[in-house]
Amino acid sequence: MVQVTLSGTIQQAAGGISSLEIEAKNIRQLLNGVEKQCPDLKPELEKGIAVAINGTIYRDDWFQPIPEDSEVFLIPRLAGG
């Protein structure tokens, strides 16, 4: 079970929910679980977000494993100039 913290626009889009518990072993399973628990997040998820696992930020990596007891955040998808 992964405890995932929602932040920024993602938290607002989830109606203010700040964290979820999801059964997931990789990012893809995590995102699917998030969408099931918070259908309102579907547009945000489809638009693209980033996932931080133990401090490392992943933009597009569905099969990145999520180790047990990881600290996981959903944050806005990073961009740059």
Partner: protein, 771 residues
């Protein structure tokens, strides 16, 4: 992270290697080429005029494309009559909104490149023509009749947020507000970051300072205007030559907007005369393609400088409130910030990045930031180096500076006491990995600049800054040529010297001299998809792809040597650019050099190449600290930058000259942003200074030599320890300069730019207040 929702609960592929590479400390201790400063490979082309930029391409039968732009900041387009223009001799095509089908995937981009129901800012494209000559094209533009219904406009972010503001879009209902509003407004979204209890934190503080700040919109100021040549053949096969930071992105968006297959559009990135984020999107490219398709001939469009200012993508202007509490011994107990950014006529102002990075330099128990993304009747903003961060960091670092003075503490010591470090929770959520803020602060404190004496009317400012960095989709090829030279093909346009860095990394891995390696930026038909050159990602991610491709080629060359020696491939090692037998049973053979193996490649299995494609992660954050001395003329308010030092963590500087160039460039742009640059709008909603005479960018004579210190705290996610360096350098300057000017002028400067009239007014107001 777009994904397929149908693919639920896919099995974990544990065998998939983590895309995050590991830092190789042993290799890093014995670099032979990395860290050297060879001449830049594109230098000769650029100084001799041989380099071909966006406007330099000429195709046979090429037409001139010009764009008609709205003179109104906000108006309904009731009708467009282009019949007279189309009838003009020499006009080969006219396109309007009717030539672009609605597109859900890129709706705002489509609306921006060609206005639909309304013109949303002065300069918004409303029609375009392709003609046999520029005079004919200009005449044709005058013959296009647009019937406008002029609407009230708004260009200021705070005014745009007021309940009575003219509303740009009927379908914008503010996201992130509970309960959801029932009426449309100009506020696209509110977002919030942070942790802890800021009320409790402020209750612990001995001193609290709360201030409001404003910054003006600025332009990236690249020297080369946007330019492209499009050629759509009768069979639908299309070519596009353009100056861009991301030709693969250009291909994706243009193909979508024109309704053609990606495979039928080949995009070549020209040499680029600066981008800084402003060339990460499309403006004229889809229009040129649409004109070419209609005319059946190639079409070139090159923006004028006036168009660049009015119709490309400047950065956001901002209005901000920041409140910070601190104990007498310098512990920051709480930080709060509200950041309101306008990003032009469409959603996407980088307010959330501003809110995420505002307090990133500090390890705080209690922090909260709120961000508002607001639309106004201005051109659609684009990325500009560390989008959103310089403004919010200006506000936070200004208050931190003031608090340091209030409690009588050295401003570096205050920052060191609260500095973000490995394991600390960032203000935007995740904990930091390895990072080098403390090292930059310590280097700043030890630098002679920090202890140098100041003269009359001079003040010293210091500020730190942060940027996230990221990797992204990347694909590179490496070919071993028959003569022993090497050619690298990358898909990331070189805007800051990346070709040199790629050559250095390949030379390091292959064990050959730098001048034996050449890197090119391949077109979209030659490589798999590459994300845009942005996010300080290229030396990190394309570099890692080149390293992996080099290693693949080395493996193959060892195999070829083993075949010639008739020994197992495992018994061959690669050392100093040669294959060598290794181990007790390998035999005694003379080493075979890369050139020798390449010369016989045709007889040992064919060409030798390396290739790597991946999605890079583990980019590693970057922090920097700037020191600046300013002198303020109390009679005129003019500010001179007397001395400037940039100290930044690069992880590992592959080519130190280019790293220093990035540091210096960030400081130079920041000096312009802090002191003079601003989009000035009149009451009529029109831009008043769309040219370099009135939009005052710093030139060489305005600037001192900008000193640099490269701090190297290796990024554990890169084999050489590389961190991106392109963006962090623009983050601290606004605050550092404002702190310096505030110290010199004796009054806190809370609005940018600190132009002479604004500084003079602040000084005069302070005198009146003191009396």
């Amino acid at each position: 992270m777009a994904r397929n929702p149908d693919a639920d609960n896919a099995p974990v592929k544990k065998e998939i290697e983590s895309p995050t590479s590991k830092y190789d400390a042993e290799k890093a201790s014995s670099f032979k080429v990395v860290g050297s400063r060879p001449a830049r490979p594109d230098g000769m082309d650029k100084v001799t005029g041989r380099a071909r930029f966006g406007a330099d391409m000429v195709m046979p039968g090429q037409l001139v494309g010009l764009i008609l732009r709205s003179p109104h900041p906000h108006a309904v387009i009731k009708s467009i009559d282009s019949s007279e223009a189309e009838a003009l001799s020499g006009v080969k095509a006219v396109v309007t909104r009717d030539d672009f089908a609605p597109n859900d995937d890129h709706a705002d981009v489509l609306y921006n490149i060609m206005a639909r129901e309304k013109a949303l800012y002065e300069g918004h494209a409303v029609a375009a023509v392709a003609a046999t000559s520029r005079p004919v094209a200009r005449k044709a533009l005058k013959l296009i009749k647009i019937d406008y219904d002029i609407l009230p406009h708004v260009t200021d972010v705070d005014e745009a947020m007021s309940p009575n503001a003219p509303v740009l879009h009927d379908d914008i209902i503010t996201k992130g507000v509970n309960p959801a509003p029932t009426k449309p407004s100009n506020v696209v979204a509110r977002s919030e970051f942070g942790h802890g209890d800021i009320d409790a934190g402020f209750a612990q503080a001995d001193e609290i300072i709360e201030r409001s700040f404003k910054t003006a919109a600025t332009h990236q100021g690249y020297i080369e205007p946007h330019a492209c040549v499009a050629n759509v053949g009768a069979d639908g096969m299309s070519e596009l030559w353009c100056c861009t930071q991301g030709h693969f992105h250009v291909r994706q968006v243009c193909a979508s907007l024109l309704g053609i297959d990606v495979s039928r559009l080949r995009v070549t990135a020209s040499e680029i005369g600066g981008g800084f984020g402003g060339k990460t999107t499309v403006f004229i490219e889809p229009v040129a393609l649409a004109l070419s398709r209609k005319a059946g001939r190639p079409v070139k469009i090159a923006m004028t400088r006036d168009e660049v200012f009015k119709a490309s993508g400047p950065t956001a202007s901002s209005s901000m409130n920041v409140k910070i509490g601190v104990t007498k011994d310098g512990r920051i107990t709480a930080g709060y910030g509200e950041f309101r950014y306008q990003g032009g006529a469409f959603a996407g102002a980088p307010a959330d990045f501003g809110a995420m990075s505002a307090f990133a330099c500090y390890a705080l128990d209690n922090v909260k930031t709120e961000a508002y993304d607001v639309v106004t009747n201005r051109p659609k903003g684009a990325a500009y180096r560390a989008p959103g961060a310089p403004m919010s960091v200006y506000a936070v670092e200004s208050v931190v500076d003031e608090l340091a003075a209030r409690i009588g503490m050295d401003p570096i010591d205050l920052r060191l006491k609260n500095a973000a470090k490995e394991g600390a929770r960032s203000s935007y959520g995740p904990k930091f990995g390895s990072c080098g803020l403390v090292e930059t602060l310590e280097a700043a404190k030890a630098h002679p600049h920090y202890s140098a004496s100041l003269g009359p009317n001079q003040g010293r400012g210091i500020a730190s800054g942060f940027w996230f960095n990221f990797g992204g989709e990347t694909c590179s090829n490496l070919n071993i040529n028959a003569d022993g030279t090497v050619t690298i093909a990358v898909g990331t346009p070189d805007i800051g010297g990346s070709r040199a860095s790629m050559c250095i990394m390949a030379a390091e891995e292959l064990g050959i001299p730098y001048d034996k390696v050449r890197a090119i930026v391949a077109d979209t038909s030659a490589l798999g998809y590459n994300d845009t050159t942005e996010g300080s990602r290229v030396t990190f991610s394309s570099g890692m792809a080149v390293i992996k491709a080099s290693q693949q080629a080395v493996t193959e060359m060892c195999k070829r040597a083993a075949m010639m020696w008739d020994i197992p491939a495992e018994a061959v090692t690669w050392e100093d650019g040669c294959a060598k037998p290794s181990g007790p049973n390998a035999g005694d053979f003379e080493p075979l050099s890369l050139a020798e193996i390449a010369a016989t490649a045709g007889k040992t299995g064919g060409p030798i190449a390396g290739h790597h494609e991946y999605n890079a992660d583990g980019a590693g954050v970057s922090f920097g600290t700037h020191i600046v001395d300013t002198e303020v003329d109390p009679e005129t308010g003019k500010v001179d930058i007397i001395r400037y030092t940039v100290i930044q963590d690069a992880g590992k500087a592959i080519h130190p000259d280019y790293v220093e160039g990035q540091f210096q460039g960030g400081a130079a742009q920041g000096i312009g942003w802090a002191l003079n640059e601003e989009y000035i709008y009149g009451d009529d909603g029109k831009l008043q200074n769309a040219g370099f005479l009135d939009y005052r960018m710093p030139v060489a004579s305005d600037l001192p030599m900008i000193d640099t210190v490269i701090v190297e705290v290796p990024n554990p996610g890169h084999p050489y320890g590389v961190r991106g360096v392109g963006e962090t350098g623009i983050v601290p300057p606004l605050a550092a300069i404002a702190n310096g000017v505030s110290a010199a002028a004796g009054v806190r400067m809370t609005e940018l730019p600190m132009s002479p009239p604004r500084v003079l007014k602040a000084i005069d107001d302070a005198k009146v207040a003191a009396e």
